[in-house]
Symmetry: D4
Subunit: 250 residues, 8 copies
């Protein structure tokens, strides 16, 4: 129920078209309804601002297929993460309009149109090593699906800091940076020392032994001595993409 | 805003006493208002059902004094936990009506009257060792402040299981049990195997080395092989008292 | 040995039918015997109050089949948890009376009859996300097998708090709530702030990265700032169902 | 060395005012110098964009005094965090222009002037409980010292979600939100579900037992089911303030 | 109730001196009574076999004084661990018969007489470094108070394995070894490879950084590749002494 | 080099048959040689006192087959742990004299003869639940292979403490107890409170969620409030059997 | 850009052959260029000093094949670690010049020629148990590929310290030692006490239960009481080989 | 027993001055004696190669005074770490020849003379931040006491990577590098990517929150993507100095 509908209801009461008791009944449910309304409004926002993401890990191919189908029917932006090869194939066979991104393990369709008037600039995804690419691409595709201009710089780990410095200009031009790294997770610290813009650090589970599936990288990033760095969950490229979009959207 | 006020508002609209636009404005703010109202109602519930607890750890003596003073003024039940000796002395000097419980490190005043018609039975606090007494008493005093009948059985650790078995009758008579233990935290498992009633397990930070400040006890309780056991935070006698009151209240 | 048998023994001594020395021998072993007796009595209680649960994870299909068979023979309530698809099929083929609940991975038979005179009200299971459903259903089916009235509200995570608020009435009506959530495990805190009744929080292993297989959710629940919340082990829907039944039973 | 100086040097070579060998010497050190230049430039940026922060924890009062004195001399923005009462008193006695913020344990002087043309809007600090205020104020004062408009909403924990909802408008108006919470750290999830703007989550070490000095809150925030949330180190109000300034600055 | 009393009761019943109903009442309470009896018997055992240990950490000087006084009155073996300097002084001033062991932070009195007929041989405490001595002495004094012959070999850490090998004979002669070590905790592995007798490993909290207050040593000992090694809690010299006494006692 | 050879060498020097310089050379290398000799002696001890155990987890069936073959050839006691089904089958097909114990996942042959004159009494393995049986049997078979009399009591978990108490006599008769439990690991505490003999606690990885693969049980055992309890690694039935044999052997 | 090119550029400016503005443009990009140059130089170093290692864990057989092919084409040293059986077979089928080391799971080709003038001596790999061999061989083959003389001593765990002592001479002769051990990880401490040369400790994930996949060994090594020991990541034989080469290279 | 004494003994046997049986007795105890000899020899090595370090943390001022006194008497190199202010003052008052280094909290005397013929080059200590200086100086002073040439570069953290790059020449000239850093511990990765020489990484406990007292830095260093890096315990400057000396010594 939006303001227009509320005016209409009250006018009906004013006109005697609707008895007071009936309006009371309708409005009594309004806290929830209104919440629902807020919620719908919020959902609408979400539809325009953020894709309705499908977390594919624990869902069967059939379940994903059904959800995607229903989303396509109402023209929604489709953004599914962590979709295994075979489940992706199933969806794409049925809905050829859906794009499969094997590295990122994602499915996308109906991305939001990029509106350069409504963004601060270009988001840059900085990826430490080739093993971190799946997470970096998840971040990139999420931001792109949300209508954000976004590009990537890859293979610029801290053990060869010159490779990173050679990209100094690209780093500085970005309006917001997503820095993806596993192992010791030191890249966001170095990048954060080179730029003025907000840095979203994404630890990945790449590594072994005391990498502890990304905990070493996570701790490295949380303890970064560079200010202007904030962190998302391990391997959470999707969350980083959403955060970057929220920052870049005007 | 309750149903009566809503009817009145709508009747005013119907009667032309209040323009539609004005009613729209009032009703638009209703979700928050209603929430605020719910909130007040909820707070009233809290005042009758649960004490407004003051967590004394991070507060200065002056801050506690001010809060207690304001609560006494409106006749509220006072229940302050983790109050250091000197802060407690400060409060009691100013407000002689406030009781100080040094072992539990608590201050109480205006406990809710025990209403035996509104409770299931008597809550029993079972305490493993003498070092666990501060937490056990915090649980007992919290429940008592909430108008619950409650008693305690102490020094019945699992390494002398006969001492516990001798209290079998008391254990079975209780309507709800709070079992407080540190070190290996095995007591709730043994108690849970002897009674049919709900057992609230409270791990304490008593122990050393691999006791890890209560983590060993916590894990012992979470992994209890006895069903009908649920756990609260380490040293959280207050939380256990609240849970027991919620269970025992009809 | 019950009171009747004890009287008989003493009467035999009184009558000279049994020498004192012989009675001493019998009674000397009484602590254990009596314990056994208590134990039997306790077991009986267990049979009426709690199902003899079979933990299916480490058992072969044949072992489960044998236990279920023996339980059905004596008319016991059957409640098996964590039963894999193929083991469940094996049992159901042999005993068609056994119900298989694939989502909850449970087998049930002969549930206790619900006796509304002996319960406080209806238990409500609140489930955060669809991935938490297996644990939520385990809780629901456990409570139901124990003769408890129980219903469920699903997909009401904290990131869309309005969906939860819309169910405020249902939440308040429940006599006891089981709140099941993974990831950050914040739902019990929000629910605990809305109701007066005891809340049993169940962390699930749903999530990734720093979710640490349910530890993040567990810690979130143990540190809940809402009083009246207690927690069970990760994914322990069965334990939550038993605790709720113990609370709801009069 | 900036572009202007470089032109001058080359012109001197062109004019024969400076021999080639001498210019080679100067330029040979340029990678470092240039780096230094970048660094100076970067430092200048820092001076305009970020305060030169002094981390007071491990420094003596005398050390802080000396650094602050040298900063005041060159008119720099002073921003010192984690300064104990007595060290702060020492500094303020000598330099009356320095402001002491006891709750935040900070010293500030010469904040950057707020330039509303260069910011996106107003940053909002949302603080869960009164014990979280020191961290929340550190974030607020950091952002303010960096020339950002910033305000605060306090005492809106998730256990009384209505208090938060009543501030829905304020939440939505903010261009960027810093959400500070200890214990279970659930507040950023709820806030993140209500707004479209980027949320910087700050876990605090408030709590006890399994709060593990802020780890529970940190994990809760990293596992937030609301997108658009990123996290900084435990108690790192300074880092959150820097990140918010980086986001809000145009 | 012991056998003699039981016979007497039954004889009274036989003689008609005591009605059956009355005997039933008495015997019905027997499980507890008998347990109490077992418990007393068990306690007697404890008095002969194990000292009634006082854990001094959380007790006030006055509390320790009271307990020691009551124990001395009934001639019990006194064994108090973790007694701070000032508390120990208080006790010794009042009861000059009590011995204070400052390194071990223990108080002892009335040790059990060593009965060489009832032991397997001599217990040997092996101590890695001088910093581990407090724990090693706690183990030694505990065993000695329990009537065990015991001696010590000190400063034989693994980084100078020759020092240990020079004591090979002493190691082999011992009937049971208590090996105390902090840091990497490797000593029990090396000792366990040199002797045939049971080795009780005691990790100490000596070390820093990743020693984690004894966890590194504990893990080292639990993962010992030498068979015949079992471990007690960090710094638990008392527990090791009890275990060694239980092993050495015939 | 043994005493006889040494005498011979010295006699040769005395007789002038061997020059001093040559003898010096031979004796200079003696520390290692002697060590090797000690080592052989030690090995002999090991052969009589402890089986040469084969840890089967990381070995191929062919490797196990080869080692077992070589051991059988020289008549050694064979004791292989953690041998998978198919590897065991391979070995037994080739060497029918080898026994396969599927529950314990062990292979044994040529156990040491039990010599009742050289043992203190009978070892008792106490097993909490049926899921703990593999570890309990590994302990039992290890002790038996080492020539120890050993028996088992199973399914006596703490949640039904009466079942344990009924076995009180068996517990007290044992010369040494191995107590095997998973989940909360409370059984050794209860057993340790009932007996005077040494208790070796074996945590198992049975459980889920916060059981953390045996860590909860391990911590429960390390923090046991019953003295006379020491602990081995998670699932380390072999180590417990060796420790028990070392204790029971005279 | 080296000094010669820089002189040339400046002379061109001096001669008026190149306008100042153009020289400014060239020199402005110098920091990165210079860095890139440094980087190339650095890369050359890497090619002569260290192999370009391929981490095979997350790469497909095809990817490894492509990289190896390109390296062979330019005659580079090939060193691939963690290559699964089938991927190795694929590579070797195509490039017969590539050696497969199944235990170490490595592929090598074109090792650097050993130049005894440029090394300090021979590196010695000391391996605790047979299960640690894969990691030990990875270290050995890495050092050998880097042109280092290297040998191995195996099966010298601390539980039989005599076996190690018998190799005392070999240990002392080495110019640098790599000590590989799992379980309690005590071997580097013992070795470090016997030699004067640097010891690189490599924890392996061999073990179970509280071995925690190598953490126990890692902590044991980090807490070594022997000086002259430094540690690499769990199972990181490659890193140890590189470190040893860096130490041994003159 | 050294070679000379052994010759003497054998000559006595040859001369008939000492009966064979007596010589056998003496030589039988030789393994230990010889070990003791080896040990003395080893100790001598230690005296020439490594200082006899005193770990001052757990020792009283009097104990340190006594040890230092005894060392000075025999002209030994004194190297005491973690000596509190007041203990250091006590020692220096008595022995003016002892130097106190307050930042490093060390006492030194009689450093080994630097012998440039016996070293590879100069060790370089690289220190990330001023708070890391105590650990960096402990490393520097340890190496210097061991006769090593050593210098330091300070305040070159990764968040301002240009400061580090400006020191590139110094980094490359060093024969071995000790890199000291807290917080995210990324500096060794960056340094390791710039040099060919061995890098010893020292994590410090500098930081807060998820720095976990140095664990974040430790993990960052263990997971370094740069080869040629090995790690010592948190805050272990002494160990790093010993390792560097072992590497640098020829």
């Amino acid at each position: 129920m939006d303001e227009r509908k509320l005016s209409k209801l009250l006018t009906e009461v004013q006109n005697g078209q609707r008895p007071v008791a009936e309006a009371v009944e309708i409005l009594k449910s309004l806290p929830a309804e209104e919440m629902g309304f807020a919620c719908l409004d919020h959902h609408r926002q979400l539809r325009t601002g953020r894709p309705e993401a499908i977390y594919g890990e624990n869902k069967s191919g059939e379940q994903i297929l059904a959800i995607v189908g229903s989303m396509l029917e109402r023209g929604a932006t489709v953004l599914a993460t962590r979709v295994a090869e075979d489940k992706a194939a199933l969806v794409c066979r049925t809905f050829p309009a859906v794009n499969h991104h094997p590295t990122a393990r994602m499915l996308t369709a109906n991305p939001l149109a990029a509106d350069t008037d409504r963004v601060r600039g270009e988001i840059l995804v900085v990826c430490a090593g080739t093993s971190d690419l799946p997470v970096a691409e998840e971040a990139l595709l999420t931001a792109r699906s949300l209508g954000q201009p976004v590009s990537m710089v890859a293979d610029v780990g801290v053990a060869g800091v010159h490779r990173l410095l050679r990209r100094h200009d690209a780093l500085r031009r970005a309006s917001c940076l997503i820095v993806v790294a596993g192992m010791e997770g030191a890249l966001p610290s170095v990048v954060g020392g080179l730029v003025e813009r907000p840095v979203i650090a994404v630890p990945t589970s790449v590594g072994y032994g005391t990498g502890f599936g990304g905990i070493a990288a996570l701790l490295g990033m949380l303890n970064s001595c560079a200010p202007g760095v904030a962190v998302v969950n391990i391997d959470n490229g999707f969350g980083a993409g959403c955060m970057a979009a929220a920052i870049n959207r005007l």
